[in-house]
Subunit: 146 residues, 2 copies
């Protein structure tokens, strides 16, 4: 798909090839609880720690970086849960997220794009969860139980 | 990362946020053989069928579309093998590929970006394989055997 962007100087149309934006989200589960952050920017709600994968950065490196920036926790291990890429999953634009299950020690401290970081029981998730993260958490819970 | 592109009319710099390009590759294995295509465009060599994920298209839809365009085969089922996103895996630019193992009936006919489409024994892969596809095929073979 071609995205048209406007030249800031002359207003001409500059054509850019556009692809889904690759992102990563990280599920840390400990003793039946999952770590969520409260988003500081819209769309509001609780969400998995995560964010955009930078050019020149692997998905795994981005996952570790985002977890650390938003919760201060260091991932000890990462294993791939899945890829979620339905066009409507993010109300802002089309993202494709690579989701990892991570193990991490210590207690979270919110930072960067996170206004808060807390543990939630898998049986009692908050009502307002952004994107398709409720479905992703349920998929992870099934895998952990199974 | 910010990519600078030049306005075609006035030559001003237009700044664009740049992310890795999401792609998909498809592994069809049948009776100990894997389906590869010979690339019509550089980088040359044999490769898994695959290509860019379009904006507005899920990874699974892109995988089915690319397999059909390049080999004429229809994927009966898809299961996620892994995500490969090391920055150096494509010599042209940074891609992140979502790899599926697919089942498909019938015999391939090369089309679109594929100059040829053939089955190769997993024990006797061609010497020239593009990107990190040899490693991906080996990972898939291990999973199928295990």
């Amino acid at each position: 798909m071609i995205l048209e962007k406007t030249c800031p100087r002359c207003g001409a149309v500059v054509e850019i090839y556009r692809n889904p934006f690759p992102t990563t989200d990280i599920i840390v589960v400990r003793a039946g609880r999952v770590l969520l952050i409260r988003r500081a920017a819209p769309p509001e709600g609780w969400a998995l720690p995560g964010g955009f994968i930078d050019y020149g950065e692997s998905a795994e490196t981005a996952a570790r970086r985002e977890l650390e920036e938003e919760t201060s926790l260091h991932a000890r291990s990462l294993s791939l849960l899945g890829v979620y890429s339905e066009p409507g999953r993010d109300p802002r634009f089309h993202t494709l997220t690579v989701v990892y299950v991570a193990e991490a020690d210590g207690e979270p401290q919110a930072g960067d794009d996170a206004a808060d970081a807390r543990w939630f029981s898998l049986d009692q998730l908050p009502r307002e969860i952004a994107f398709d993260h409720r479905r992703i958490i349920e998929d992870a819970a099934r895998r952990i139980k199974g």
